[in-house]
Symmetry: C2
């Protein structure tokens, strides 16, 4: 397999600034390796026109048009609720294998378990990479991550899809510039696509969530000053909170960065039927610190604000309001200078 493969992203029917999280992050962090996006709704536009970033990467209306760009792999760029494979896509993925493209997927349904796709991949000599397939023999966590020398920083959120991974990836370079050897630990499909290693902790058997996080931190920590662990979900998310807490207790972070999207009012409102109002940031700080401290001393050191749908002025006001409410440094590290977050991490790592 090419070590820097090019991708055609499949995001049909769900390509937008908030819903197609995997596609958007791959575009954001690996723009030179994306040859196109398949989405019938926005076919004919550029990615820039749909997302507000991503430049001239074309959105195409069929797998055939996309495959004409000769991608090394077709990458599943959206995460349907439950993570399973829409039936309609099976034929498209077979078409991709017929054209000699590998398949990269983070769905809970493993493409390599699909008899049609597995047989075709075999026949064509293509690879199916299911990044959510967990490693064998994960341990039950024993709190071992609390003993590493590196300063472990976990992003925690007010909901899914607020920017927990993006914030971390934005900080690596700045920390390195400040002289701290920094490792990013991917705990979800998108992070693994970008970083090249990791474990999708939401896909492991429930007893081993914390064990997977522990193993990742123990692998990343040697020689590092700072380990940035990608957070998942939210501690009050009705569906995913178990993953969030397992990650918190398995990774034993020394410091937490609370991530929020400024205009989000309800848990999961970027999808359907929201009913659970997002409480104040100070409530999240209490919950994360109380539960984190129950296993390893930790505190929230900064707030990372996602302001993608605000004007510059509104964004600055949202960050100022969060700083005021929490008494913590706050910025949007995608939009503004990440210095407030970087300074907070440097202080935690040297403190």
């Amino acid at each position: 397999m090419n070590s820097q493969p090019t991708f055609l992203l499949l995001a049909d029917g769900d390509f937008s600034p908030m819903t197609s999280k995997t596609a958007n992050s791959v575009i954001r962090f690996l723009p030179d390796r994306v040859v196109g996006v398949v989405d019938r709704e926005h076919a004919g536009k550029t990615v820039q026109e749909v997302l507000g970033f991503g430049g001239a990467i074309p959105v195409v209306g069929s797998m055939k048009e996309g495959l004409a760009q000769k991608p090394d792999a077709v990458l599943i760029g959206i995460a349907p609720a439950g993570g399973r494979l829409p039936d309609e896509w099976r034929a498209w993925l077979a078409e991709a294998l017929d054209a000699g493209a590998d398949l990269w997927s983070g769905l809970h349904t493993f493409l390599s378990d699909d008899p049609l796709l597995a047989a075709k991949a075999d026949e064509k000599g293509c690879t199916i990479l299911d990044v959510r397939k967990p490693p064998a023999n994960l341990p039950v966590a024993m709190g071992l991550a609390r003993e590493v020398d590196a300063c472990v920083v976990l992003t925690v959120g007010t909901d899914c899809n607020v920017g927990k991974m993006t914030a971390q990836l934005r900080l690596v370079e700045g920390l390195e510039e400040r002289g701290l050897k920094t490792r990013f630990v991917a705990t979800g499909q998108t992070g693994i696509f970008i970083e090249g290693w990791g474990i999708a902790v939401d896909a492991v058997v429930a007893d081993f969530i914390a064990g997977a996080a522990e193993q990742l931190v123990l692998k990343a920590a040697p020689g590092a000053d700072v380990v940035l662990v990608e957070g998942q979900g939210s501690i009050n998310h009705p569906g995913y909170s178990g993953v969030t807490l397992g990650l918190l207790h398995g990774a034993c972070p020394d410091a937490l960065i609370l991530c929020h999207q400024a205009t989000r009012e309800y848990i999961g409102e970027y999808r359907s039927a929201p009913w659970l109002k997002i409480p104040p940031l100070t409530d999240y700080i209490k919950m994360y610190e109380m539960l984190g401290n129950a296993v390893h001393p930790t505190k929230v050191i900064a707030v990372s604000m996602n302001t993608y749908d605000l004007s510059d002025e509104e964004a600055r006001a949202a960050c100022a309001a969060a700083a005021q409410e929490t008494g913590l440094p706050c910025t949007d590290p995608v939009r503004f200078d990440a210095a407030p977050l970087l300074d907070a991490i440097v202080a935690a790592a040297r403190g």
Copy 2:
């Protein structure tokens, strides 16, 4: 399969009042269906001599002796950390199949995936029941359990293995006597062995922990006044807290019963290398209520105390001290009258 099968319990090397949790509960709740226990260490004793209950059920030193009692099934009665199959047992289980016994297992490693055992079961017409094999197509929880009419009561713990399932099973009859239609929801292997249905929530893929709990409550609630949901783990357990929180948010309990073992000082101290001190009960009440309330209004209504290793006098003192500390009714429902817990549930269900 016989609907009331008899069991030979395999608990070799780990048969004791605190470690062999599954074996002990099957003995406690289905004593007439247990023909013997395989454990080389205590071979020749009765179960009563090892556990302090269980009467004349014999402990035998080999599978051969146990199979001579003609059990319908061999049931794995201990849960090794991580839930995997010790290599040594494979030959014993093959021996059981050769004798025509079914296999019942709650290990994470599915016996039915073992080529030797699967082939032999097939050859002998025996059944392998892996109760930790999760059902297909579990949903991501959406908070649907908050809408059921029944009063949902979840047991929550200060650690694993403090009596969360036992407390619930002790309460069913008393609640029925008080005129409340009561359903028990099994969420772990032992509860499923005893009740005959349920989902082992610690064995589902992490994203679906809460979804499994939600599905169980939605199935049990129609026609019930009270649904007693078996709790798992502890909210501050370094390995299993994710399962605990997913269950709390998926089941949407209206009331919680906090379970503790009076003499336990450290998380997991019944196993090895304990390091995490169990905080005061009032800390647990804060953590469970804060996190539970984040999704659905709930409160701790009583404390269930496990006093198996205390004298009667010490046990009464431990219950009184917990009641004093928490301001809640407290008893050991195995040892004493369960009335304080029953009254608290009746008040919650009618309140």
